[in-house]
Symmetry: C2
Subunit: 400 residues, 2 copies
């Protein structure tokens, strides 16, 4: 293994907090492969560049010889992490979660090394717990510890309901650390509190408590809120190159520096230097954003894909054309056609509810004209180009 200072420099690039820092150094001094936990709850079908930030960190731990223990929170996803929430989540069914888990895992694996990778599902230990175990778990934590949590405190102060089930979430994800004997746990900055509850629960179960390492949250393409599938302000790791390029071009200028660091893997000093030079008029913000967008596409699709994506983007945006390689989709012969279902079937949106939202937002067009209402005569559709937002198109053709 590499010397500790070298490991620290590589690992802690673009991280937010290390709690407690001294314990991380002591762990690395042990010279053994550490067990580094990262828990992801499959509550949505996609993986965003926001998630990719913490996966980059996990991969760096693998590169330094440590073991990545990726926990697919198939059980906790059914409970729902209340972090940062202003209301109680709807509970997902086991079937929904299974579908999301498969889809996420397919996208997540390429972000990590195949060696020193352990993938576990937390239903393995949580699903078989009985009432007695649950009670013992609740006896490990005080109410005030849970209420310290900022989002709970805010909601309670505002007299907004917090369900008791939300207080269970931190205990369950904390028990994951006991089950896999984590040395370190990684998470987004908004997960720090959850990670620290994990420390408490490990201590109460006779384990050395894990060190918490967090990464900054990547802001969404709107430049204001955290990137999230529920806010619709995200870039997916499986967005097609042109789509990914276009979304990256849509971020506000003042989000560029953090995107360079968190999404394009630039060093913090390099990114700061770019910002300085843009401010000084030495670089043009538009050119810089193109560089950022190309870098992001290159990470997920390879170096060759970047210039192609840029060219496609230019055709659509600069020249107001539909892209040359519009895919076709054969519509079936029901009449009228239920548009949210068609949008999902074409892949233009990820779900019918997403489709309905897009229609309601006026983001769905047919041959460039905004569509209103959810039912459309089949004859109107055949031969037209259906479009969602600025960059997703499909040409509808007749199957018969």
């Amino acid at each position: 293994m590499k010397p500790v200072p070298e490991q620290l420099e590589y690992l802690l690039r673009a991280t937010d907090r290390v709690v407690p820092r001294a314990e991380l150094e002591a762990l690395l001094e042990l010279g053994r492969p550490l067990r580094v936990k990262l828990g992801v709850d499959p509550t949505a079908p996609d993986v965003t560049l926001g998630w990719a930030v913490v996966f980059d960190l996990l991969r760096r731990f693998q590169e330094m010889g440590h073991v990545a223990v990726l926990i697919i929170g198939d059980f906790t996803a059914q409970v729902g992490d209340p972090s940062g929430r202003s209301e109680t989540r709807q509970r997902l069914t086991a079937a929904e979660v299974r579908g999301y888990a498969d889809s996420c895992l397919e996208m997540l694996r390429p972000l990590l090394l195949e060696e020193r990778l352990e993938i576990r599902y937390n239903s393995e230990w949580l699903g078989s717990m009985g009432m007695e175990d649950v009670l013992t778990l609740t006896s490990n934590v005080t109410v005030s510890r849970i209420l310290e949590r900022e989002d709970f405190a805010n909601r309670l102060t505002a007299n907004e309901p917090v369900s008791m089930i939300e207080m269970m979430y931190p205990l369950l994800q904390g028990y994951d650390s006991v089950a896999i004997e984590a040395d370190i746990e990684l998470g987004g900055a908004d997960q720090l509190w959850n990670l620290l509850v994990g420390r408490d629960i490990q201590s109460r179960n006779g384990q050395q408590p894990q060190v918490a390492v967090t990464v900054p949250l990547l802001v969404g393409t709107d430049g204001t809120r955290k990137m999230s599938q529920s806010y619709g302000n995200y870039i997916s790791v499986r967005d097609e190159p042109a789509e990914m390029f276009g979304k990256a071009m849509s971020i506000p200028d003042d989000a560029m520096e953090s995107y360079f660091v968190l999404a394009a893997r630039y060093r913090e000093d390099e990114a700061a230097d770019i910002t300085r030079r843009v401010a000084a008029g030495e670089l043009h913000p538009g050119d810089i954003k193109r560089r950022l967008a190309r870098e992001i596409v290159a990470i997920y699709w390879g170096d060759d894909a970047a210039p192609e994506a840029e060219a496609a983007f230019d055709r659509v945006f600069r020249e107001g054309e539909t892209p040359e390689d519009v895919e076709t989709f054969t519509i079936d012969d029901t009449d009228p056609v239920w548009l949210p279902g068609l949008l999902r079937d074409t892949g233009l949106v990820s779900s019918t509810s997403d489709g309905r939202r897009m229609i309601a937002q006026g983001a769905v067009k047919l041959d460039g004209e905004r569509v209103e209402g959810e039912e459309i005569a089949r004859g109107t559709l055949v031969g037209s180009v259906l479009q969602v937002g600025k960059r997703r198109f499909v040409e509808l053709v007749n199957g018969s």
Copy 2:
């Protein structure tokens, strides 16, 4: 069944709150036997006159044709009701609880009618719950509902720890109401909040919510705190007549009126009248307290036992003698003897920790002399009278 107004008059004698009152009347109007829940957690070996108050009420429901559903909280006892607590309870083991349950039930059954009596143990439904069921249960209640609870709020404000397991208690006892389909639940005044959580949980489980009926708390023989085995200020339903009589004589004068109503089953107007006549100098408080003590003994030991108990009390107290019927106890031949163990074995105290407390308080005497220290030479003990407090004696004899 009797007309509703007549039932109400009989049932609501000496009760505290009925929530909601209109629903109780509507239930009685149905004209069917109602299911009346009373949950008791066997957390101590004895049954006090404090418990007897609510059992009186339950028996009155039986007399009116309704069904008493007595829930032995063998599962919830292991969790611990935080009501009125200023700190987290020690969790009891299953074996301790089973012992207490048997002992309590033996004392409780005579307080009720044998007909229209259903006895259930809540481990039946709670013990088999899995994690999923627990989570569904927690999703039924909001955090603020639980934190409304005065004792939690007080402890949290004072920065005293409240364990998460204590927040589970109200949910579990509330689920009991779902399991047995309670129409009404009875409890002490300090249980009202628990009973109302039961209403919430029934509603969330598609049941008509129960009506909560509470009784006032009986003050302990110290005249200040609630009667409780943990405070040692209690009269047990199985105290021997002379002991029971003596304890009743020890209550402060200003507690007499509530004892007449809650422990001696007087009507509230009768009890108020006695207080008025004592205050006016028409009745002597000492005579009245004797009447109260005789009435209480008569309830648990029959009318004939009352004058005997009074005579025995007089011999000990007025004449400073040991009672004539002192029991003997054969001490074993360990030397020295561990006094707390001996006190428990003789039945003078209920546990060794109780024994240690009594020694520390200077309440243990040997031939009238206060005993200090916990180990005593066997030779000193043989042939002596061992005494706890003013009214409990045993003569120690040699077995060999």
